[in-house]
C-alpha cells in the first residue's frame, strides 16, 4: 500500500466522487464532483470506475509526495502547469510518481477545478456509498472536510501499466444552456430576456454551495419570498437583490427564492469550470434539446475508455495526421500548411 502525502494544497480542494443521491428527502444533498466529465476522464486514465473518488483541486496549486511505494495518478479538468520532480506532466494524461517523488500542480489556467485520480482509488469509509466531502453534514472520507497540508491519501501501489492520454471534445467557450423554470412565471418576459441578453460574471465569493453571478439585477414580479421547494444542481435562484445564485453540488436541498431557470445537466460541469471574473452568456433551449444533450453527455461518458490513447508521440498529434490521411488528404508532418487541412475532417 502506497500513499500520497499532501505538503500543500489551496482552499476549495476535497475528495469527491459521484456523490450520494437518495437522501435529499432528509435534507442531505448528494455533493460530488463539480465537473463529472473531468472526474470520469481522470478515473478512466488509471483504470478506475468513472465516478470513483478522486481529489478535486480548486483554482490554487497543490503539492503531493508518494510515500511507501510508487503511485500512479491522472490529471484532468482545468489545465495547469504540473511536474513530477521536474518532469512535465500533461493534462488529460496519466503519470507515475516513484517512491519519494513529488507532484507539483500550479494555478488553474482556463478553468477552476482539476481532478487527480489515483490508480485503484482512494481508501476511505463509504457513507451512503460515497467518500464525497460534505463538510456541513460531517460527511466525507478519509477526511470529512476540505484537504489540508499534512493529510495523507492511502492508495494501491502503482501497477506499472503504460501511461495513457485521453481525447475529450473541447467546448469551453460555448454559451451555457438553460431551461426556463420552475418559477419563471415569477418574472416578466423582459426580465427573462435580460437573463439571456446579458454578459454574466461569477463572483469571487462563490463556492461549492452556490455561484453568485454579477450582472444586471433581475426584478421579481411578486417579491422574492416563495414557500421553499426542492432544488437541483444548476437551479438559478434570484434573491432579493436580483443577483442570481446558481446552486452547486453542496446546495441546500430546498430553498425559498424563485428559480428563474436551470442550467442543463450536460452543461453543468462546464459551467462549474468557469473562472471567477470571466464573462459568459446563457442560451435558452427546449426540453427536447436539453434531454437530447443529456443523452449525448452520457454517451460521451460511456465512450471514455475508447478515447484512451498511448502516451507516446503525444506532441506530434498522430491522430490528426492519420485521420487526415484516411480522409485522403496528403499530409506532410513537416509542412505546417497541410496541417490546416487536417482539422476540419477530424471529428
Amino acid at each position: 500500500m502506497s500513499k500520497l502525502v499532501i505538503s500543500s494544497i489551496g482552499p476549495a480542494s476535497s475528495v469527491q466522487d459521484g456523490g450520494r443521491p437518495g437522501a435529499q428527502r432528509y435534507g442531505l444533498v448528494p455533493s460530488g464532483a463539480m465537473d463529472r466529465l473531468a472526474l470520469a476522464a481522470a478515473n478512466t486514465l488509471v483504470g478506475n470506475q468513472l465516478f470513483a473518488a478522486s481529489v478535486e483541486i480548486g483554482p490554487f496549486g497543490a503539492v503531493f509526495t508518494a510515500r511507501e511505494g510508487a503511485v500512479r495518478v491522472a490529471l484532468s479538468g482545468a489545465p495547469r502547469n504540473a511536474d513530477i520532480s521536474g518532469r512535465a506532466v500533461a493534462s488529460d494524461a496519466s503519470a507515475t510518481l516513484a517512491e519519494g517523488e513529488t507532484l507539483t500542480l500550479g494555478f488553474a489556467r482556463g478553468g477552476s477545478f482539476s481532478y487527480l485520480a489515483i490508480e485503484g482509488g482512494i481508501e476511505g469509509e463509504l457513507m451512503f456509498g460515497s467518500l464525497a466531502v460534505n463538510a456541513r453534514a460531517g460527511l466525507g472520507s478519509p477526511y470529512p472536510r476540505p484537504l489540508q497540508s499534512g493529510d495523507e491519501l492511502r492508495a494501491a501501489a502503482a501497477s506499472g501499466a503504460a501511461e495513457r492520454r485521453i481525447v475529450i471534445p473541447d467546448v469551453a467557450d460555448a454559451p451555457i444552456r438553460i431551461l426556463f423554470g420552475p418559477q419563471d412565471d415569477e418574472f416578466a418576459d423582459a426580465t427573462k430576456k435580460l437573463l439571456l441578453d446579458s454578459a454574466w460574471k461569477i463572483s469571487a465569493t462563490s463556492d461549492r454551495m452556490g455561484y453568485r453571478l454579477e450582472g444586471p439585477a433581475l426584478k421579481h414580479l411578486h417579491g422574492h419570498n416563495i414557500v421553499s421547494d426542492g432544488t437541483v444542481n444548476g437551479s438559478i435562484q434570484v434573491p432579493g437583490n436580483g443577483q442570481p445564485i446558481v446552486l452547486m453540488p453542496d446546495r441546500g436541498t430546498s430553498g425559498g427564492y424563485p428559480k428563474i431557470a436551470t442550467v442543463i445537466s450536460a452543461d453543468f460541469g462546464r459551467f462549474a469550470q468557469i473562472q471567477a471574473g470571466r464573462a459568459f452568456r446563457f442560451k435558452s433551449v427546449s426540453m427536447a434539446e436539453a434531454q437530447a444533450e443529456a443523452n449525448k453527455f452520457w454517451e460521451l461518458l460511456r465512450s471514455l475508455p475508447d478515447r484512451l490513447r498511448g502516451a507516446e508521440h503525444f506532441d506530434l498529434n498522430i491522430e490528426a495526421l492519420s485521420d487526415a490521411n484516411v480522409a485522403g488528404h496528403a499530409v506532410s508532418a513537416v509542412d505546417a500548411g497541410t496541417w490546416q487541412i487536417a482539422s476540419p475532417v477530424t471529428s
Binding site: 437541483v232 442550467v263 445537466s265 434531454q291
Partner: protein
C-alpha cells in the same frame, strides 16, 4: 362522490427533475397531497425515477432522462396525483423533549413580550400543539412542522443569525421546526432538544420521515444535559408513541 382534485402543475426543474406543484402557499391540504403522491409513487415506482423530495407544496421528482422523458414521466405523475388522497393510515407519533428558554431558547422572552404574554404561556401553547413533519430540507434533518397555533405566528427575524445551535426548536412565520445541525437561521429560538434528527453511526441515521406526527414535552436544563450525553452516545431520546 368526491369532487375531482385540482390537477397539480408540472414545472421543469432542468432536464432531470420535475416539480409537481400543488400550491404556491403553505397549505396543509396541499402538503397532504404531496405526501400522498410520494407514498403512491413509493408503492408503485415509475422506472427512471431516482429520488423524490417532498416539500410543503410540491414533490420534486428526480429522474434519469435516458430512461424516461419529461412528457412520459409527467403523464404518469399526473395520473398518480389525481388519485384520491387516502385517509391517513398509520402515522408514527414522536414525543420530543425540549428545554425551553434561558440559554437554550434565547428568544423566548422577546417572543412573549411581542405577543403580550408570559414565557410560560408561550411554552404552554407550543407544547399543546399537534404537529406534523411537512418537509425535511435545507440541511440534514432540518424538519419543518405544520400545525403551529395561529397565536404563535410571527414574522421572521429582520437579521438572520449566522449561527444557531444544533437541536434548536424555533418558530418562524406560520411554521415551527426542529433544526438538527448548527447553522444560520432567521427564526425565533424557543428552546433546544437533545434529539438528533440526523446522526451518523446510529440506526436509523434519519429519525423523522415527512408525514410523522410530533408532540413536544418541556424538560428542564438539567434533564436536557443528561439527554444530550445519552443522545451523543447514540440513544434516540425521542419517544415513539402509540399511533
Amino acid at each position: 362522490m368526491a369532487a375531482p382534485l385540482t390537477p397539480p402543475r408540472l414545472l421543469p426543474s432542468g432536464d432531470s427533475a420535475i416539480t409537481v406543484e400543488f400550491s404556491r402557499n403553505i397549505d396543509d391540504a396541499a402538503n397532504q397531497r404531496v405526501l400522498a403522491l410520494d407514498r403512491a409513487h413509493a408503492a408503485e415506482p415509475i422506472a427512471g425515477v431516482t429520488e423524490t423530495v417532498p416539500t410543503y407544496r410540491s414533490l420534486l421528482v428526480h429522474y434519469d432522462s435516458v430512461q424516461i422523458g419529461f412528457e412520459a414521466l409527467g403523464e404518469k405523475l399526473m395520473a398518480l396525483a389525481q388519485r384520491p388522497v387516502p385517509t391517513a393510515t398509520k402515522t408514527r407519533r414522536w414525543r420530543i423533549p425540549v428545554a425551553y428558554g434561558g440559554e437554550h431558547g434565547i428568544d423566548l422572552e422577546d417572543v412573549a413580550k411581542a405577543l403580550n404574554t408570559t414565557p410560560d404561556d408561550i411554552v404552554a401553547r407550543h407544547v399543546a400543539g399537534d404537529y406534523r413533519v411537512a418537509m425535511i430540507g435545507f440541511t440534514p434533518g432540518w424538519s419543518y412542522l405544520s400545525g403551529l397555533e395561529k397565536s404563535l405566528h410571527m414574522p421572521r427575524q429582520q437579521n438572520p443569525r449566522l449561527l444557531t445551535p444544533a437541536g434548536t426548536i424555533s418558530i418562524g412565520g406560520v411554521q415551527t421546526g426542529v433544526q438538527c445541525l448548527a447553522g444560520p437561521s432567521g427564526w425565533h429560538l424557543l428552546g433546544r432538544t437533545a434529539v438528533r434528527t440526523y446522526q451518523l453511526h446510529r440506526d436509523p441515521i434519519f429519525l423523522l420521515e415527512p408525514g410523522d406526527a410530533i408532540s413536544f414535552a418541556s424538560v428542564d436544563a438539567k434533564i436536557f444535559a443528561e439527554q444530550d450525553r445519552a443522545a451523543e452516545a447514540g440513544e434516540l431520546i425521542a419517544e415513539l408513541m402509540a399511533s
